[in-house]
Amino acid sequence: MEKQAGRHAAAVRLDDPWCDALGSGWSEPLDSGLGWGAIPAEVPVPGWGAHRALDAPPGEEEWPGLDPRAPGGCEALTPTSGHAHPQHGDRLSTADIYLEVQRSDAFQRVRRRYRGFVVPVGLAFLLWYFGYVIAAIAAPTLMARPVVGAVNVAMLAGLAQFLTTFLLTWAYARHARLHRDPEALELRWLVFDWDRARRIAPGEHGEPGEPGSAGRGSGR
């Protein structure tokens, strides 16, 4: 629900919804997302916010005030690589949308943060686990060394495996919640908005009115 409020506030601040992103760029995903996502100022935003916050499939209602030029019409959205920016006044295909988002700073950041956590931590725990397994067969005398009473090194190592699993689970969940979730959600709505604009645009023949058609290709 806070999402909804944030959206609303951000949208109201916008004077020129088309090119507002010029100033802020990708560094502020909320604002630029809106500018980019082609929501004209006259669109009733609270309704939209509620719609999104509920995670409902996009409805079929008309979208007053939409300008078909919108997606890709704003020069501020130059992707980082500068490659294949969608032409001015042209509509984006689904492929273009995803390519564009993939090149964006915000997405690169989400991906970097994700990989920056799971690759080193994943390697570390796999090494630790296989180290444990290999120690059990290669160094049985070490593993059998008693520590306290009947408890030996092997027992402690096994319990330590449990402990590290719990700790890493907690760390991952925390990292994802703090460092990935907000931006990933912004990007999700960005794709949604863009895709919607693409489908509503006049003259567009790609599956009009079918909700989420762009994203659903996989399952069919």
């Binding site: 994943g122 796999l126 686990y129 059990a136 408890v151 969940a173 949604f192």
Partner: protein
Amino acid sequence: MSGDHQTLALLLFSAFVAATLVITSRVSRGRQGSPEEFYAGGRLFSPMENGFAIAGDYMSAASFLGISGLIALFGYDGMLYSVGFLVAWLVVLFFVAELVRNCGRFTLADVIASRMRERPVRIAAGTSSVIVSVFYLVAQMVGAGSLVALLLGGTSQSARSWAVVGVGALMVVYVSFGGMRATTWIQIVKAVLLMAGALTLTVLVLVRFHGDVNALLSTAAERSGHGREFLAPGLKYGGNWTARLDFISLGLALVLGTAGLPHILSRFYTVPTARAARRSVVWAIGLIGGFYLMTIVLGFGAAAVVGTAEVRTSGAAGNTAVPLLALDLGGGAGTTGGTILFAVVAAVAFATILAVVAGITLASSASVAHDLYSALRRPRSRQRSEVAVARIAAAGMGVVAIGLGLLARDLNVAFLVGLAFAVAASANLPVLFYSLFWRNFTTRGAVWSVYGGLVPAVLLVVFSPVVSGGAESLFPGSDFQLFPLQNPGLVSIPLGFLAGWIGTLLSSERPDAAKHAETEVRALTGAGAV
């Protein structure tokens, strides 16, 4: 074995069956037979509910009976299963759960097919999912059989066979009529029962030793007949280097297999978002970790209280250690306490088997209907609804599982599950990893990677000591054993990765940058997720 505990156990078990049938009929009432409903239960379960259901799906009879039994027989070497089964969840949490939730709809093949040419990829991934499910199902059926044999006294072969048939029939009913919604609720009920049962026994074991873990371990070592060696690695896997390599192979299969199990993957689709999928895995890890810690106590407890020799007499594979432990903890055979506890444990174990079997059957019927049928159906043939096909497929899986379950009755359940994990890690995991993380992956790479892992894994099992050439083999009379290891993972998992890589290098098709962008963006942001 007195008649009392049999009657009581049967009563409790009938109560569970009745309750699950009520759940099945209630939750499926008035629901349309849409695929969304049948495969994913409407996608509206909460993370906590799904976490319990994941734990319920995962904590199989193999864990409850098999791992404790292995620990009771071989001491520390059985503990590897507990550790491996839990650590595997980090792989699921880090690399699979959220991304799969975001990219797929119902099955593993959905994730891969979104980037590739659909037909060959669906056939490959659907086939491997079904085969993994069959391996896993057999393990559960064997568990059901040995439990009932114990319950009804001695080695009553017909009772055993009827148990396998009964479990098979019930699972078909749950899945065909209740779909994912009923299956999920059955998993949740079962997870709660199983945790409660394990917790009770653990507390009783600890009370028996006055909370002194040291005394528990020392007694276990003493009564095992192995002394201190019982508490250190090496009893089962310590002999020659073949046995040691087997241990590594098993360790590899356990930690990488979970992420490729179809029935686990399909659970992520029952929650609305990737974030919910993550939170359900966190719940599941908490429950599963707690449970496996308890199996360790129960295993050593069975060795200490019942004695390794007695466990082995009751069942050579060790699957009956926990029920025997319960009988003793309650006061011994013939006492009221012993009767009740034994009956409760037997009923819980049976509930476990039923629930897990239902989960696997559902996932495999989804693979048959959503992947294989839709890809293989001739375009002009009469269109059947996918859900109808899935219901028929569930019945078919039931027949296959019953048949194989009757055949493979004398193998340790945890060990059989280890094989299923090896096949899952070889056939499903490489293709999943490549699809999610490798930009240049192609259709040919995907197909090669599935078959390149699946075929060696299955062949190596066929030519392993599990099937022939040993006293404990499936066919002890014949000998076509060529491969020394019991678990194929060490060879077949690298082969799966290698085949995918070579297939990609050799394919003429150029990798599709747009499709890769779509997969990557969707996986990490949830854009376009259903």
